[in-house]
């Protein structure tokens, strides 16, 4: 695999007495589509927050594109090319879909008209073109997830951190989102997704990390990981594992 | 400069004022702790209470200290009514707009008072207004005005009663339940709206007591509310939003700071000391000196 675009070395973060993330080291290869899975409360979103700069690690080092970004502010990370979505979607509720995405586009577009045009293009990409003038608050869950994705995409990131972008979607909506994510990755963006929807993980991910109770308990291809006894115990359960093994890439 | 014979009376005076400040801050803390709102109308309500005491004395001849139970009940009723009738309605149960609503209420109160009483500063005369009491303990001596001493004692007693209510009575238990977990309390059958209104009423009742204790040694005009609001907030923030102990200690502390500030910087500039503390605390340690809940 290619060199790591994002690398974590020994990252640890506690809240009070609770070790949310403990000594996690991983490298996200440039140009890859990878996944981070694990039970609720495992620390996955905390890891995203640490990567993107919303949280400061207690220990460890984070590198992005060769630079040490440990503790750097989120907005600086965004400008360097790291975009993230939030598990609980965070729209600019009072603004329209177009305006929402335009905020992301403005990272590279100084002029309002250019940003709005770029927003339209991104909306096309994710399938929101028909809802451009709707207030974000009026979107369905699926719509808001797409908006979240679109806004992050509009910043023209090198690395896209997707936090459960499929959560709350029905099977059809999931089926519609998967090719969108794949297309983004094919377009050259490195994607790391937190996901519970294992179907998507099996279909999309080239490499999977498994986090449980703040620690990395396994990593490998989707097939390897779903066959891992540790992972089955901690997260998947035997039934799911068996089913997934049957469908493994 | 640090002459004990000047310092001692100043500190003592500060403590007496501080005790009343503490009582005011306790009311604000209760309201914040339970309703989670920053009651901007607190100062204006105190002003209204002061005018109430003033009118009872000049219009009906009732001594402020004797009027205390009356004022407490009247202010309680005002508070209950305000919360239930105006603040709750306007904010639709959300914490969000309450700051604006309480600001609006305070503006209305202040200016109605201005309309009714004009902007003159008024004081009352009682038999004991000018009596002073000598205090002599080992490290110093001072002559403290009797009303101030009564204020100190009264404030301490009132604060104790308030804390007892909150910690020992059924109402207090309901209040603490609602403060901690509103939805859970509702599920347990507690009438949250009623508890909110009760808490607001008690918060204002504290002001009724404070007004009775204050007026003999102080004055009233429509603008006093503003000054008290900021002082009260300073204390509440300093002591830790929602901490009774913090409000008590903070009140005494601020009282002393104000007194010493007035001593060294003169009356007006001394006030700045308080605001400077307020700003610094807000910026550096907004959780206050004692964080935690009441």
């Amino acid at each position: 695999m290619s060199t790591a675009l994002l690398s974590l070395q020994g990252v640890t973060r506690s809240f009070g007495g609770l070790k949310a993330v403990h000594n996690v080291s991983l490298g996200v290869p440039d140009g890859s589509l990878t996944a981070l899975i694990g039970p609720n409360g495992a620390g996955k979103t905390t890891l995203f927050a640490l990567m993107s700069g919303f949280l400061l690690p207690d220990r460890g080092r984070i590198e992005f594109d060769g630079d040490d970004i440990t503790g750097r502010s989120p907005h600086l990370n965004a400008r360097a090319g790291m975009a993230r979505t939030f598990q609980i979607v965070q729209p600019f509720a009072a603004q329209t879909v177009r305006e929402n995405i335009a905020v992301g586009a403005h990272l590279h577009q100084g002029r309002r008209s250019m940003a709005l045009a770029a927003a339209e293009a991104v909306a096309q990409q994710v399938g929101l073109a028909s809802q451009l003038d709707k207030p974000a608050a009026d979107l369905t869950v699926a719509g808001r997830k797409r908006l979240e994705l679109a806004r992050a995409l509009a910043t023209q990131p090198r690395l896209l951190l997707l936090d459960e972008v499929l959560a709350g979607l029905n099977p059809q909506e999931i089926a519609e989102m998967i090719p969108v994510v794949r297309a983004i990755a094919r377009g050259g963006v490195t994607v790391l997704m937190i996901e519970h929807v294992m179907q998507a993980v099996m279909h999309l991910a080239q490499h999977v990390w498994v986090l449980a109770q703040g620690e990395l308990i396994a990593q490998g291809s989707p097939a390897e990981v779903t066959g891992n006894a540790h992972v089955i115990e901690a997260y998947l359960g035997h039934g799911t594992a068996a089913r997934l093994q049957g469908q493994a890439k | 400069m640090f002459n004990l014979s000047i310092l001692f009376p100043s500190v003592l005076n500060g403590l007496t004022t501080g005790a009343v400040y503490a009582l005011i801050a306790l009311g604000l803390t209760l309201i914040y702790g339970v309703l989670h709102i920053i009651n901007f109308a607190h100062g204006a309500a105190l002003m209204v209470a002061l005018y109430g005491v003033y009118w009872l004395k000049t219009g009906m001849g009732i001594d402020p200290y004797l009027a205390l139970p009356l004022m407490v009940m009247a202010m309680f009723a005002l508070g209950y009514g305000l919360q239930r009738g105006v603040i709750n309605r306007a904010s639709h149960g959300k914490d969000e707009n309450i700051l604006l609503v309480t600001l609006g209420v305070s503006i209305v109160m202040e200016n109605l008072a201005l309309l009714a009483f004009k902007s003159d500063t008024r004081t009352i005369e009682t038999a004991y207004t000018l009596t002073t009491v000598p205090i002599d303990i080992g490290i110093g001596q001072a002559m403290i005005a009797l009303p101030k001493l009564v204020a100190f004692g009264g404030a301490v007693i009132a604060s104790a009663i308030l804390i007892l209510i909150v910690t020992r009575t059924d109402l207090g238990r309901a209040i603490r339940a609602v403060a901690k977990e509103k939805h859970g309390a509702k599920l347990m059958g507690i009438d949250v709206e009623h508890v909110y209104a009760m808490s607001f009423g008690i918060g204002l009742a504290c002001l009724g007591a404070a007004a009775c204790l204050l007026l003999p040694a102080y004055y009233v005009n429509p603008q006093v509310g503003g000054g008290f609001v900021l002082v009260a907030f300073t204390i509440v923030v300093l002591g830790g939003m929602g901490s009774f102990a913090g409000a008590l200690v903070g009140g005494l502390l601020i009282g002393v700071v104000e007194s010493l500030g007035g001593l060294y910087l003169g009356e007006s500039l001394g006030q700045i000391g308080i605001f400077a503390i307020f700003i610094v605390v807000l910026l550096l340690r907004p959780q206050g000196l004692f964080s935690g809940n009441s």
Binding site: P74, R111, S113, A115 | E96, L112, A113, L269
Partner: protein
């Protein structure tokens, strides 16, 4: 409708507004009418200034008089103490108000103050300035400062309200242009993003601290110009007028009533409040404080029934406290 034509329509409406009001000012002779227009424009300026920080930035200041008073005192002191021409004092006042704004903003936003805490801090600062102004002889202490009467355009003192009306109209148009720019620029988009969801904004590369500083600077500058204007009209300033709650409240209520975060909201709100104030004066006579009673009641009623302002298009007051003061001290990142 494409955004380009929205932008064009707004610019056109500003031009029409300027033209119509200027014509009215030029043509009308009645002192009452001219005064009404001038005072309404002045109130609109206050509301517009507050709107930049409060409506577009989502930071509610309760002590906006801080910047008003600074602009006013600079205007007065520059003329009285240094003999500076008022046309030069005005921009100077705006600059110094901006500096004060940057100072307060830097402190407040650096430490992540939001919501009620920010409102309180601005109030505290206004009070501090008021006390200092009352105590320091340089500002005339409690008595205040009077600017000597000397009529002449070169001295920014006009024979009638007509001249002052045109002066404040140009300031209002300036504020309108600034507001228009906020609605159609990157800075404005970033500012509103920070208002609506600060974390989401950070995630797409917006620096909240810098943006808020910019907003408070612009807001303070406009407010300062209003203060300078006040001094020219009334030739007098004292600590109560400069830093007291009246101006802070007028600015705030005007913007909220009209609709926060909009182009015409503050102007509409100022007009409504002004008409109300005039009506009450006609009904009840010149009673001290009656204006403020009305403002207070209107504020409460507004929040109760029309949180989006009378134009119905403003930012709802309700939404904003969703990320309020309770989590104002975030993890440092």
């Amino acid at each position: 409708m494409s955004s380009l034509s929205i932008s064009l329509r707004e610019r056109l409406s500003i031009a029409v507004f300027a033209g119509v009001v200027a014509t009215l000012l030029w043509v009308l002779d009645s002192g009452v009418a001219l005064n009404f227009i001038m005072m309404t424009l002045y109130a609109a300026l206050l509301a517009q200034a507050w709107n930049v920080l409060g409506g577009f930035g989502g930071q509610f200041s309760f002590g906006h008089a801080l910047f008003f008073g600074t602009g006013a005192y600079v205007q007065a002191m520059a003329q009285v103490h240094w003999g500076l021409n008022p046309w030069l004092a005005l921009p100077l006042g705006m600059v110094i108000s901006t500096a004060v704004g940057l100072f307060v903003g830097a402190l407040s936003f650096r430490y992540g103050l939001k919501g009620s805490y920010f409102a309180l801090v601005t109030l505290a600062f206004a009070e501090v300035f008021r006390i200092v102004a009352t105590s320091v002889p340089f500002t005339g202490a409690g008595v205040g400062l009077m600017v000597p009467l000397r009529e002449g355009v070169d001295n920014m003192q006009f024979a009638s309200r007509r001249g002052y009306g045109l002066l404040v109209l140009s300031l209002v148009v300036l504020a309108l242009c600034l507001t228009h720019w906020l609605r159609h620029s990157r800075f404005g988009a970033w500012l509103q993003a920070v208002r609506d969801n600060e974390d989401a904004a950070r995630a797409v590369g917006v620096n909240p601290f810098g943006i808020k500083l910019g907003a408070i600077a612009l807001s303070a500058a406009l407010m300062g110009s209003a203060g300078a204007f006040y001094v020219q009209v009334f030739q007098y300033i004292d600590p109560g007028i400069a830093y007291g709650p009246h101006t802070s409240v007028e600015a705030l209520v005007g913007a909220i009533v009209g609709g926060m975060g909009t182009l015409w909201g503050p102007v509409a709100g100022a007009l409504v409040l002004h008409v109300l104030a005039d009506l009450t004066r006609n009904l009840f006579g010149q009673l001290p404080g009656i204006n403020m009673v009305i403002y207070g009641m209107v504020l409460v009623l507004m929040v109760m029934f029309a949180p989006r302002g009378i134009t119905g298009t403003g930012q709802s007051i309700r939404r904003w406290w969703l990320r309020s003061d309770r989590d104002h001290k975030k993890e440092q990142a």
